[in-house]
Subunit: 289 residues, 2 copies
DNA sequence: ATGAAAGCGCTAACAA
DNA sequence: TTGTTAGCGCTTTCAT
């Protein structure tokens, strides 16, 4: 049968199928930043899972912009996808409600929107932040700085919250916070410059993600700062580049593909109000010992 | 009108529209490796251009696998996209012919498939390779190594070809070639280790892409090799990370977004047998002087 | 069991 | 101008 189909060059018309069924055989995956491996790995996990289930993925990029996010959702709605996996930027309960009315299950990554009935999968960022700071404290660092981005997305805020709490528990003063306007390697580089201008460097730095940590470590190294002797650095995400950095980076590992896989399961199970929280893990490399 | 539509929450059914028109209002973009900024930047350039023209993008990832590429194309064919932009892995003339028969214009990135009638947009990699080596020679490097991946995709082969030719013209012996099994930062790291095992290091290294160059520079630095004093390194692509690397990386800049933009223009113009070649540019940073 | 027919929502062609 | 209708290719239902 399949052979005959291939022979004749028959190709099913998905538009007709979707029209007849009232819903497309696809799931939308809306990613916040395609150049951050954290998001693409999550999306790949989701895609693998949904391919296995016989679905196809429609990838969209919001680039962190509410406007672009809206256009992604408009597109997915017009396409009649059967569900949406999204790292939301400005998605609110009313839009989610509307999507759900149209029969599209929405699963949020790393965020919850109260009152929308939609499910979510996230990593416990408070725990991750705490893990990071407890590690810095355990190796004897007392003067700790936190590098984040402003406006601060909830996951970063949670990481900082966990960090501050762990610091308070250890009896240390609250960490110095450096806020950048984005969370790229270039931002990490600028953060390092700002830190160097202060004159005295903290002896421990927790960066809200690996990309910033890499940019920061590179800039510090370039200025003769010895990592980890002069200053221990810990990142967050455990992207591939972390392991091959100049100073292999201690970081908080996130089960990114698992995140995408779980999200797919929830969408396909049409689950309401389910919230899965995964645990992050400390990965110790050279940048902290 | 639009206001009323929004008010009533009307959403156009794209499946019905596509069925009626016989073709969807979308273009497929097939990317080889979503974790390489080179490809994602190209795809973003394409997406921006096609959005401007009123189209939506269907992103697919082949992950460099012929099998996955085939599935991407099957998907796009079923979706009835009006055109496809692709960095081909194993796409042959017969498949292209079939797609074209179905009314889908195919534009290839960085590769040509003879006899298929499809257009292409590429960067002149032979020129890029030559540019890289001429720069190394100009700063006095005589013992040059080339780091590539095996199996070697045409763009990398062309870069190496240009490099070898430039070397021959300068009257130097052919470069030592190190082949890795992939072209990631981890592969660059392994290449560095292999080079260090040889005992004598070349004084100039040309890596087939920035990711490998970054992994290589990191590993060499970690082993006490001074870049560029002991060994100058040049990459290829000019990804964002190149500028913020420990040793800011000299590289060959590729107009990635422009590549995507031009490809979109060709698809939408339904151009046959047009071949646009863009010129790369040398960007000198610290890793070479 | 196999076959015929209706209808999903849209657009293009045609009628008034 | 405005309104009506046929039909895209599929799935599902209903009849044989």
């Amino acid at each position: 049968m399949q052979a005959a189909i291939d022979e004749l060059g028959f190709v099913r018309n998905e538009a007709a199928r979707a029209l007849r069924k009232g819903v497309a055989h696809t799931l939308g995956v809306v990613v916040e930043d395609i150049s951050n491996p954290y998001f693409t790995d999550m999306a790949r996990g989701a895609e693998a899972a949904l391919n296995t289930a016989g679905y196809d993925a429609l990838w969209c990029t919001s680039d962190g912009s509410p406007e672009k996010e809206r256009r992604c959702l408009d597109f997915l709605e017009e396409q009649g996808v059967s569900g949406i996996i999204i790292t939301p930027v400005a998605l609110d309960a009313s839009r989610i409600a509307r999507l759900r009315t149209r029969g599209m299950q929405v699963v949020l990554i790393d965020r919850r929107v109260p009152g929308a009935g939609s499910s979510s999968v996230s990593v416990d960022h408070v725990m991750g932040g705490s893990l990071a700071v407890r590690h810095l404290v355990a190796i004897g660092r007392t003067d700790i700085a936190f590098v984040t981005a402003e406006p601060e997305p909830p996951p970063l805020r949670q990481r900082r919250g966990g960090a501050l709490r762990a610091l308070a528990r250890a009896g240390y003063p609250p960490a110095l916070t450096i806020s950048m306007t984005e969370s790229s390697a270039a931002a990490g580089q600028s953060a390092a410059r700002r830190l160097l201008e202060f004159g005295t460097l903290p002896n421990g730095i927790f960066c809200a993600n690996d990309l910033m940590a890499i940019g920061l470590v590179n800039e510090l190294t370039r200025n003769g700062v010895k990592i980890p002797q002069d200053c221990a650095v810990i990142g967050y995400d455990d992207i591939d580049l972390a392991a091959t950095a100049v100073v292999p980076l201690t970081t908080i590992h996130q089960p990114r593909r698992e995140l995408g896989r779980k999200a797919t399961e929830l969408v396909l199970a049409d689950a309401d109000n389910q919230h899965i929280v995964l645990a992050p893990e400390l990965v110790v490399r050279d940048s902290s010992e």
